[in-house]
Symmetry: C3
Subunit: 265 residues, 3 copies
């Protein structure tokens, strides 16, 4: 598995997948830079008049509802529908699921187009699982891991998607496997939008890697290890954001395999 | 006073207020990062369908009209009205007041919902004061300090808000006090949106500190001192922007009190 | 020529032109910072209700269609028309020309208002030239240079604009001259939006420099040299983005003239 993840990182660098992002305003610059640093090619586009053509041009689609509004939601729905029709892989990042009824309603409509991967934090994954009546306890980020796994399993049964719960340990589940990734560093929570960056990177990997669970695991471990290495040189969250991009770009096989800390369940 | 300001910085770190921002596109990433670095939790949301729920969830609201348009203005008005109804503190950042008639018209409508704090540069504060006929001379940023104070006093009489004029010296006035903060560094004017960052940080502080004048002073002095310390290590405005985030995150009581340079009037 | 380019850099620093940008979400922060670092003053504004007033206030206008949609396109058309009427110089950055039919249709409408400068990569310039039937081969970025020059010449004959093709070598053509700028570094392609930054800087220079070809050349060489110098100190694309801003701010005559590598044709 470990060597396979590295191979996928090399595949992204070699094939430079075009990743179409309909994402939030806060992270557009940082996710575009992360995609470039990992070797992919970002596109950001949301005009109703061109969204179908952009999906058709791209290897994968990333939908992130962070700063949604009516116009953007229509663009997202159009893009997700097109991706499903064309068989293009797509990632859903359900930012703020459960926070407002509007977000929840939009997420239910988006999920009808069957995302390939859903990545969120424990609270967001639990909120999604509830839509179809899965029983979960209240959201409590400290104790959320186990409940979130139950929610993720319920969600993947409904959706057939690979589910990725990001947190201190990233948990990736599909129909057969569970993978825990223990990389990353707590200072990463003080940089805005690294979750969104994770989703964007997953977009790059599912665009060129056949096995979507491995693709998701490669993206999450790459970012986690980049964060760990960057943190060693950073003086705080400002320099961490900058140095993560440098690390994504410079990542080498030896250091990646040395730092990689995963367990298969 | 000095020790009180430090206590407020610790309060923000401990309570991690949720700050709802309806702000401009240019600074969304940098203000979200500044809020995180100071210990607060940023939310960016502007959809009419959820803006009321977001205000209700948050400790404070920040409205910044930098890149306004009709949809966003309606979101701002809805949020400001909700904040007033729920008694949530909110900051108005009147970017570009006086530059176009549209901005001035929007600002007058927003001010009807009684912001808790208004923060702008001398030119913007003077433009606001003129709405109700205050006599001010033309805007001249070099000689603006005294005129701006007159304008601020006129504005606080109309509005009852704490008024913060940011500049080489930051001036904060309320019904009883005037506070001058002499921290900061001229290179900060070469980084886009540090005024917007100041407003966002004020949002964090007024969300958890009862005395809004002290809250505003704590935010402004924290940013000014972070800027001074960052400038000593910076090679120009690019690295300054990064290092200010590091300094906000790492600020310690001893260095804060040592650098703090305020006068009460 | 070399000394003239440096003089123009000093003119921008001294006159601090106001540059009105209607640009894409990805680069708003980074282009505003680049304009500040070079000594100019950025404005970002797109509301239909104020766009004419903003154009009238500014020294130059920059239109970049990166994340266009219907509302923004109307703002761009209004601004471009106003610029033409008032005789204000303006730059068109045709991001993604040729990628979708919507982009191409919008670009044709914008070009009716006669941009002063058009800056794009080889693929984009070739797409624009095709609108009026110029014969160009298919887009192939590796072999594009010569074809793009043919396209640029065809485009300037149609438009009368200065055409700037950015790439490993930047090529600037007007009715009389061709200028090649050999500055820059390949790592710059791994930072999002440095092409957009180039266009924004061209906006600053054409706002205060009479000769628009020289203005464009000064902007492109300044950014290229800043990129080269920054790359020497950078650990990857993250730190490169930061250090380019520092270099733009700190650029000195001696190092600029020493690094400058141009040829006149």
């Amino acid at each position: 598995m470990e060597k396979m993840l590295w191979k996928h990182i090399e595949t992204v660098r070699r094939q430079s997948p075009l990743v179409h992002n309909i994402t939030n305003y806060v992270v557009m610059n940082s996710t575009a830079n992360a995609l470039l640093a990992a070797g992919a090619s970002p596109i950001m586009s949301h005009a109703h008049a061109e969204v179908k053509q952009m999906v058709a041009l791209s290897h994968a689609l990333v939908i992130n509802i962070g700063t949604l509004d009516e116009y953007w939601v229509d663009a997202m729905l159009l893009a997700a529908e097109t991706a499903q029709q064309l068989g293009k892989p797509w990632v859903l990042d359900p930012v703020g699921a459960g926070a407002t009824s509007y977000r929840d309603e939009v997420l239910q409509r988006l999920m009808a187009f069957k995302p390939t991967v859903i990545r969120g934090n424990a609270s967001e994954i639990m909120a999604l699982a509830k839509f179809n009546g899965a029983k979960t306890k209240g959201v409590d980020s400290t104790a959320a891991s186990l409940d979130a796994v139950t929610a993720a399993i319920s969600l993947l049964e409904q959706q057939g998607a690979v589910i990725c719960i990001s947190g201190a340990t990233d948990i990736i589940v599909d129909q057969e496997f569970g993978i825990h990734i223990h990389n990353g560093h707590p200072l990463m929570t003080k940089v805005t939008g690294l979750g969104c960056t994770a989703s964007a990177l997953i977009g790059a990997f599912i665009g060129v890697v056949e096995n979507k669970t491995e693709a998701t695991s490669a993206a999450m471990s790459l970012l986690g290890i980049a964060g760990e290495l960057a943190q060693k040189e950073a003086d705080g969250p400002g320099s961490l954001q900058v140095k993560i991009l440098d690390q994504l770009y410079n990542m080498q096989e030896e250091i990646f395999l040395q730092q990689l800390n995963i367990s298969l369940l």
